[in-house]
């Protein structure tokens, strides 16, 4: 141990594990060998933990929705309310925006300011189109007397889908911030780390939307005798 400390300056990061050849990459085995992980990995991992906690929160809203699905209190049911054409359009918008977000991350990898801004702008516009459709749907529900206070079913519906909409809104604000920061500060490494977190966030939102359109809208409008 003490001899390692004495000759530490020769090998400050490899922590005593020598690469196979002088210029070979350090072998990272996941057991502490090979030196510290790149900051990109660490940042991504930390944000991944946050995303998973967010997913668990959505899971509890899904649980509440499934349990309260039939508690319509004599009010409108899912079959009477949901418009699958609207849902399909929303899905197309959000799925395409997640694709352009991926392209934006490639443009950042290429350090191309122009394509980064274009791809992020497309992502933002598609996200805004999604939000517009969702807001119009909510407004039409409320106008038909199916607001969140009508029944336990509608409370859980607005909580679940509305929470996703709030996340998309926050994502849009974040996206605008990232566009401004790339423009003003360039492709600095800390900005790129922020952007990595943003792409993870945006892709995760689409994963949650997959669950919502499948399990809330498509399963929700199945004929009652087909429901479990």
């Amino acid at each position: 141990m003490s001899t390692e400390v004495l000759r530490a300056p020769q090998d400050p990061y490899h922590l005593g594990h020598h690469p196979a050849a002088p210029n070979a990459p350090p072998q990272s085995t996941g057991h502490g060998a090979g030196g510290p992980a790149p900051k990109r990995i660490v940042v991504g991992y930390g944000f991944w933990i946050f995303l998973l906690s967010d997913v668990i929160m959505f899971a509890s809203f899904f649980a509440a929705y499934s349990v309260l699905f039939k508690s319509t209190a004599g009010g409108p049911t899912a079959q009477q309310l949901y418009d699958l054409h609207n849902t399909a359009l929303e899905t197309v918008f959000l799925l395409t925006s997640t694709f352009t977000c991926g392209l934006a991350s490639l443009a950042v990898g290429q350090r191309s300011q122009k394509w980064t801004q274009i791809a992020l702008l497309c992502t933002g516009l598609l996200g805004a189109a999604f939000l517009t459709l969702e807001f119009r749907e909510f407004a039409s529900f409320v106008a038909r007397g199916a607001g969140p206070s009508r029944s336990a079913f509608l409370s859980s519906f607005f909580t679940l889908v509305g929470c996703h909409g709030v996340h998309v809104t926050a994502g849009l604000l974040w996206l605008g911030t990232m566009m401004a920061q790339f423009y003003a500060k360039g492709f600095r490494i800390d900005i790129r780390h922020r952007f990595l977190c943003f792409t993870l966030f945006w892709h995760a939102l689409d994963i949650i939307w997959v669950a919502i359109f499948s399990l809330v809208y498509l399963v929700g409008t199945l004929p009652a005798e087909f429901l479990p």
């Binding site: 350090p26 990272s28 998973l52 423009y183 492709f187 892709h203």
Partner: protein, 143 residues
Amino acid sequence: MSDETRGHSPEYDAGSYVGGDRPPGAPPDAEEHSLRREVGGYVTGFVLAILLTVASFWVRGTDFIYGPALAVALLVLAVAQMGIHLVFFLHITTDPDNTNNVLALAFGVLIVFLVVFGSIWVMTHMNQNMMHVPMDKLLQMQP
């Protein structure tokens, strides 16, 4: 707008630790793949996701699948599409760099499963045991 990094020399990366973003000793381009392959990855994921979405909406609209199994079919399609998103967009891989992410994901899936199916299971049993009396009657029975 120029395509160049604005106002910073490539060597200077503010906010990074000494040695930059790479583990010391890693080859300079260790984390950069060819652009064409990366675009191809996103396009593949996008096409697969669209196919699964179309399949979901199509299955919902036809009587191709035995009715009572439709909900399960939609669930399976949704889980498949989530897998596509995880692999092609979120880049969850079997890479040693990703071990921690995969383990955290497995734990997250466990908790999601417990919360959702546990709630449905418990509440279904409670409904079966307690809901033989309509709510109106229950309210009238109160003193």
